[in-house]
């Protein structure tokens, strides 16, 4: 079975995945964190066993019953053993944040060092991060299209960018379906995955470009299939080593890196997939269509 022959199934698989993702996005949306929506997050070390009901009781006099509460702690701890608390609310003033901490301080005899983390983001800043990332991505896309067009050809450039958009949509789908929080680190992960995926794609394109010169007699589909095959060990080895690093940090790294690493893992996996099954086959489909058109124009 050749990779090129598999392309129909790959296209169908990706389209279904993206459609499911879009349906999920329109129903559930994305679980945006405070980096995007604005809001306040407090991360407290309670230093003893506690329940979320207790924590809610502490917040009730402050009128913050509606806050999102979550117990956190080292990986592998049972829910009851986790001794840290994440409180997420709408944006609060520094004085209101102080009130929360003081309330918990009195209830659980905390010290200043037990306030592990405070994040407070105005909604306007969140919008800016998103807009900035989007503009940067668009410009980076244009830059890459220009370079690939010069070094390869326009069809390669657009197919490569299409594969990147595929990666982005799949990541969004994954985060929407599983309702994993989308925060600042998600943007970093998207940037990383796109960088990885384009790199992966270009190496295969380089093979196609080379084989187009040296194997003129072969059918186009065979050239592409051989190119993917010849680059396959490289593609897999690079993917394996990258996934090794990401998985190790995902499993053993600190809690602050966890959402970021999870996004990376999903992205690198699908980035590798798209380099093999989307980018080059897409170019092939386009090129074949153009060739057929030319032939028809000639025979007409």
């Amino acid at each position: 079975m050749s990779f090129v022959a598999l392309r129909k199934y790959a296209f169908i698989f990706s389209v279904v995945l993206i459609i499911v993702g879009m349906i999920s996005m329109s129903i559930n949306g994305l679980n945006y964190g405070i980096d995007f929506t604005g809001g306040t997050l407090l991360h407290l070390d309670i230093r003893q066993e506690f329940t979320l009901e207790e924590a809610r009781d502490v917040l009730a006099p402050l009128g913050l019953e509606a806050a999102t509460l979550q117990k956190v702690g080292a990986e592998g701890l049972a829910e009851g053993e986790k001794q840290e608390l994440l409180i997420q609310t709408q944006q609060l003033t520094p004085a209101e944040q102080d009130e929360i901490f003081t309330a918990f301080q009195e209830r659980y005899e905390l010290t200043a060092a037990d306030l592990l983390r405070v994040e407070n983001v105005a909604a306007i800043v969140g919008g800016e991060l998103q807009r900035q990332a989007l503009i940067a991505l668009l410009l980076a896309g244009l830059g890459m299209i220009a370079y690939i067009t010069i070094r390869f050809e326009f069809r390669f450039a657009i197919s490569a960018i299409a594969a990147l958009i595929h990666d982005l949509l799949v990541m969004l789908a994954f985060f929407s379906i599983f309702q994993i929080e989308v925060n600042g680190p998600f943007i970093a992960a998207v940037l990383t995955v796109l960088g990885y995926s384009i790199n992966d794609t270009i190496v295969i394109y380089d093979r196609v470009r080379e084989n187009l010169k040296t194997r003129r007699k072969e059918a186009l589909a065979d050239v592409v299939d051989n190119s993917i095959r010849q680059s396959l060990i490289r593609t897999l080895n690079t993917s394996i080593t990258t996934i090794i690093v990401i998985t190790t940090i995902l499993v053993f790294g600190g809690i602050t890196l966890y959402p970021f690493m999870l996004a990376l893992l999903v992205g690198v996996f699908f980035g590798t997939y798209s380099s093999i099954f989307i980018a080059s086959p897409l170019w092939l489909a386009w090129r074949e269509r153009d060739t057929r058109k030319q032939l028809r124009a000639k025979s007409a």
Binding site: V118, N120, V125, M144, G184, A188, T238, T242, I246
Partner: protein, 405 residues
């Protein structure tokens, strides 16, 4: 001569690894870590002036005042920067008590002189200086010096409110309530009855440093306690090292002799990247680590591309030395195009993004450039030397499976 080659190569490798160890050691000691990794407070302020966005040198004055306050707090390496037209960014790394720190900065409130009827006479923007002095009875007092604008307003106010009280507010709080004893036209006033010498000095400091010409609104605050920052950092670094070791192991098992060469290259690469980041005084954040991971992946990738190409040449029946040369030549274009494409994206991010995303672009760009350099120059040098020393023989020493002669 011929017998010396392996020894020479081994010595070169030992030297490279020793230098790398020194570089990594220095980097670990001197590299700036972001607040998300080591703890500290980051605050982004929007400066506003009576509802409008403030601009111009008022922001610069505000920055100077904030800097004085933070210096008085004794924070090492604070960063206080203007961002855009009307924003101020403050980084206070390694702060122990983030609440206390925020409170001190939060005290950078607006100073105003208010008449007995509650009307604002002038603001801190019109106060040029404040100091400790002595009144005619040799008691501690606070001297005030206004700028020309303030001089005129103050003259008018002292005339209007002669014998009455003028309140000095720091935000809503009254920090002093002196009685006007005479009309002051020269812009130099003193506040008598300021208490002890210490109290007078304190009031003068508050007037001086509290004389913020703008109102600051917290747009974004991120405080990470040193405990969490350190915990997260230690665990992530340990995990990162473990991941890297697994990669080195993978390369060694899969490519054997070639893998060994790649591993030396990768270690030197990592030392160089960390060295460059330290040398340019960059600050490593979570986003920076993302860039690093990607560039490590690309550094491994470059070596893998090279080895796979060499393997193909060997399969085609060429000798080890010609295969190395031909393999590099073919791999070079592939590495160049793939890296340049990613570099373009990184460069765009660098020039258009601010803050965190920019940190990602910096480490990624440096990582790509260094990885291209080490893969193309160092890996090739080491492979050539190893081949000349007859240390690489396919297939048993190279791990290039499927290669037979």
């Amino acid at each position: 001569m011929k017998n010396n080659r392996p020894l020479l190569l081994v010595l070169t490798v030992i030297l490279l690894l020793a230098l790398s160890a020194v570089a990594v050691d220095q980097a670990v000691k001197n590299l700036n870590l972001g607040l998300d990794l080591r703890g500290g407070v980051y605050i982004l302020y929007q400066a506003e002036e009576a509802g409008d966005a403030a601009g111009g040198d008022k922001i610069d004055r505000a920055i100077t005042i904030i800097r004085n306050r933070i210096d008085a707090l004794g924070v090492a390496n604070p960063v206080i920067q203007r961002e855009g037209a009307d924003r101020i960014r403050i980084d206070l790394p390694g702060i122990e008590d983030q609440r206390a720190a925020r409170e001190v900065i939060g005290r950078t409130a607006m100073l105003s002189f208010v008449g007995p009827g509650g009307e604002t006479i002038l603001t801190g923007a019109e106060l040029r200086n404040a100091g400790v002095t002595m009144d005619q009875f040799n008691r501690p007092a606070v001297s005030l010096e206004f700028n020309p604008d303030g001089r005129a307003k103050f003259a008018a106010a002292t005339e209007q409110f002669l014998g009455q009280i003028i309140y000095i507010h720091l935000d809503e709080e009254v920090i002093s309530a002196p009685t006007v004893e005479s009309i002051i036209t020269d812009g130099n006033a003193i506040i008598t009855g300021a208490g002890t010498m210490d109290e007078a000095a304190n009031l003068a400091l508050m007037l001086r440093s509290g004389a913020l010409p703008v109102r600051l609104i917290e747009l974004e605050t991120r405080g990470v306690g040193p405990q969490l920052g350190q915990d997260s950092m230690t665990r992530s670094v340990q995990a990162g090292i473990a991941g890297l070791l697994l990669v080195l192991l993978f390369m060694l098992v899969y490519y054997r002799g070639f893998g060994l060469v790649a591993n030396v290259s990768l270690i030197v690469y990592l030392a160089l990247v960390l060295g460059v980041l330290t040398a340019i005084n960059a600050t490593l954040t979570l986003f920076g680590i993302a860039g690093l991971i990607l560039s490590v992946g690309m550094a491994v990738d470059a070596n893998v591309i090279i080895f796979e190409r060499i393997k193909e040449e060997l399969k085609a029946g060429r000798t080890m030395r010609t295969s190395i040369e031909a393999g590099f030549q073919r791999a070079f274009r592939s590495i160049l195009d793939s890296n340049v494409t990613t570099l373009i994206a990184a460069a765009v991010l660098f020039s258009f993004a601010t803050g965190q995303v920019r940190g990602f672009a910096i480490t990624l760009s440096i990582g790509i450039l260094v990885s291209m350099a080490t893969a193309i120059l160092l890996t090739r040098f080491l492979l050539r030397q190893a081949a000349r020393a007859n240390l690489l023989r396919a297939p048993e020493n190279t791990g290039l499976r499927g290669v037979s002669k």
